[in-house]
């Protein structure tokens, strides 16, 4: 078996906050194979975003190793990291943060400014990316004229336009209604299935479990083992489930 796409080894991330040492992540080890769609789950403040930022080279660990497609990220300088992200990672956020004065096509083409592609090719690629997310007829629309689901799809097109190996998404459905959320989850799965991308997604949403290959659970900066994760997942389902469960027995 090849080296995993993502290899996180004994990673900690501490913040100093008003004299306190906040352990956002504590000795987390995790590996994610290429071509998988993986969810990071856990309550608010459990360190999901922190872990995702380390994987995508947005932040650096206080200690430990983060290796993505064979590149040890902490070794890179700030500008090298930026260049690495531009080439290897597609980022999707909860809030779409499209540039309101640029059209959908222009928003999607933005990351291509960092490549040495010519103008015509940049346009062609942006069109392709918008076609993948099903917005080929909205190229010249501005963000304000689009629904939240459409804006998120533009953001996804922006994330895939450079054809990165890794796509990371931080609560991409957090700001969407159920129908749009499902569409986005489906789209992310298509990116994995149809285009062979590795997708790592932070989410609260138990519905996501139907779409992903694997889910990792975090709590208070710790990665839960499989048993604990099972229970956490069950609890999550229970809280969202269709009716009262009569057989549930608490240990």
């Amino acid at each position: 078996m090849d080296a995993p796409m993502i290899d996180v080894r004994h990673v900690s991330r501490h913040y100093l906050r008003g004299g306190d040492d906040v352990h956002a992540l504590d000795d987390v080890s995790l590996s994610i194979p290429a071509g998988k769609f993986v969810a990071l789950m856990g309550p608010s403040g459990s360190g999901k975003s922190t872990l995702l930022n380390l994987i995508s080279g947005i932040d650096r660990p206080s200690s430990g190793e983060v290796i993505v497609s064979g590149q040890a990220l902490p070794d890179l300088s700030e500008d090298e990291l930026a260049r690495w992200r531009a080439r290897h990672v597609g980022l999707i956020f909860q809030f779409f943060n499209l540039i309101p004065v640029l059209s959908a096509l222009e928003n999607v083409a933005l990351p291509l400014l960092l490549t040495d592609l010519g103008k015509a090719e940049r346009r062609e690629r942006a069109e392709t990316a918008l076609r993948v997310v099903g917005l080929e007829d909205r190229l010249d629309h501005f963000p304000a004229t689009m629904s939240g689901g459409e804006q998120q799809r533009v953001a996804i097109a922006r994330a895939i336009v450079t054809d990165p190996d890794l796509i990371v998404a931080d609560e991409p459905t957090g700001d969407l209604d159920a129908k749009n959320a499902e569409a986005i989850l489906d789209l992310l799965r298509t990116l994995k299935k149809g285009f062979g991308k590795t997708v790592v997604m932070v989410t609260h949403d138990p519905r996501a479990l139907r779409f992903v290959d694997d889910a990792h659970h975090l709590d208070k900066g710790l990665l839960l083992d499989d048993d604990a994760a099972e229970r956490a997942s069950a609890a999550l389902h229970a809280s969202m489930g269709p009716g009262p469960r009569t057989t549930e027995v608490e240990p």
């Binding site: 975003s49 930022n53 995508s56 947005i58 932040d59 700030e78 500008d79 930026a82 260049r83 690495w84 992200r85 531009a86 080439r87 990672v89 980022l91 956020f93 909860q94 809030f95 943060n97 499209l98 540039i99 309101p100 004065v101 640029l102 096509l105 222009e106 083409a109 933005l110 990351p111 291509l112 400014l113 960092l114 103008k119 940049r122 346009r123 942006a126 922006r158 931080d170």
Partner: protein, 387 residues
């Protein structure tokens, strides 16, 4: 999609705010350009008040000392001298005894026309002035003050000479600025001669007209050299410098202008910087995402900084065009003769260049701090601030 498109799109994002900021910069450039033309305008004012070919020659020790009468003849012989007219202070008082209420001089009447061809005097009145021994040329100001008419007779009591004279007003110098009363030197000379057997014999000030402005320097040099080591050494100065004293310290005035210019600039820099930081704050979400996507600090800085510099240079350009239009119409308004203080508002090349640099300078100073701040913020911090 290009960087330029991004910068321009950002500029048009909040059109009203952009317009206000641009307007402030435009006005500042107009104001500064007009202020910078002021020293030149003052200079023009002096030049229009004073002829650049007229020289005053007087005793080195001051205006109350005199030179020998014959010196006027010697001056007329100097190379480049077109004409010269000697004057003697009469110190005549009208009615109120002992009080001189306007300057009055005994002048070489036959030389007045040649020395003052630019003075508004009617030719026939000038001819009468030379013709009638007791004729007097009086400035408009004095005429109006005493409600005199041409042809009227007036008498002055001298506070200096033992000769009180009656004059016939033969003409008016139509210059509202100059309080003046000129009469024929020969009249005073003969009055003294007949009473005491001895004429005037002296000259107070000799006004010289050079044939060409380029001769002025050498004429002054020659005249002062001629009188050196004589009993009456002279000091020559141009009419312009003679008048410049009335305007006091021009330097101080220019310094105030420059100070105001500096303060205006500073004020506009603060306004533009405020707009720039407001823009950066408003777009913190997008900026964070751009960074996360992989835009390096340099690109983020470039896009924000470029935006501020672009708007300020465009506004500066507009300000320059407005200034040029304004100064041109001021000059047209001042009339075709090109005289008067308004005609001095000429936007010279250096002022235009300074205006352009000023707007660039405003943009760079206003843009640098917010842009660096946005560019330097670590991407993880920027992202956390928005989510």
């Amino acid at each position: 999609m290009s960087y330029t498109r991004l910068v321009v799109a950002n500029l048009l994002r909040n059109k009203l705010r952009t317009a206000f900021t641009a307007g402030a910069i435009t006005l500042a450039v107009v104001l500064v350009c007009l202020l910078l033309t002021m020293p030149a305008a003052l200079d023009r004012l002096l030049e229009s008040a004073a002829s650049d070919v007229r020289i005053s020659v007087h005793h080195k020790a001051g205006l109350v000392y005199s030179m020998p009468e014959s010196f006027a003849r010697k001056v007329r012989a100097v190379d480049g001298v077109e004409a010269a007219a000697g004057m003697v202070w009469y110190g005549g008082a009208f009615e109120e005894s002992g009080k001189v209420t306007f300057p009055n001089f005994a002048v070489e009447a036959e030389h007045i026309e040649a020395v003052y061809p630019d003075y508004p005097i009617k030719p026939e009145e000038l001819a009468d002035f030379v013709k009638y021994r007791d004729g007097a040329l009086v400035g408009r100001q004095v005429m109006d003050k005493y409600d005199w008419k041409v042809g009227e007779r007036v008498s002055l009591t001298s506070t200096i000479w033992p000769a009180n004279l009656d004059f016939r007003i033969v003409g008016v110098v139509e210059d509202p600025q100059a309080p003046l009363f000129w009469f024929n030197r020969k009249y005073l000379d003969q009055a003294l001669e007949s009473q005491f057997g001895q004429g005037l014999g002296i000259m107070g000030t000799i006004w010289v007209r050079a044939s060409d402005p380029s001769m002025v320097g050498s004429i002054m040099q020659t005249i002062d050299d001629m009188s050196r080591n004589s009993e009456a050494e002279t000091a020559s100065e141009t009419e312009k410098s003679y008048f410049a004293n009335f305007f006091g310290s021009l330097q101080g005035f220019i310094r105030i202008i420059l100070l105001v210019t500096g303060l205006v600039t500073l004020c506009i820099i603060f306004i533009a910087a405020n707009t720039a930081s407001m823009n950066v704050r408003e777009r913190s979400g997008e900026i964070a995402v751009l960074k996360a996507i992989g835009f390096a600090r340099r690109s983020i800085f470039g896009a924000l900084f470029g935006e501020v510099v672009l708007i300020s240079s465009l506004a500066g350009l507009l300000g320059l065009l407005l200034s040029i239009g304004l100064t041109t119409s001021l000059r047209n308004f001042a009339g075709n003769d090109g005289l008067g203080p308004m005609s001095g508002f000429i936007l010279t090349g250096p002022v235009v260049v300074q205006g352009l640099f000023l707007s660039l300078f405003i943009g760079m100073l206003a843009g640098v701090v917010p842009s660096i701040g946005a560019a330097r913020k670590p991407v993880a911090v920027a992202l956390r601030e928005i989510f």
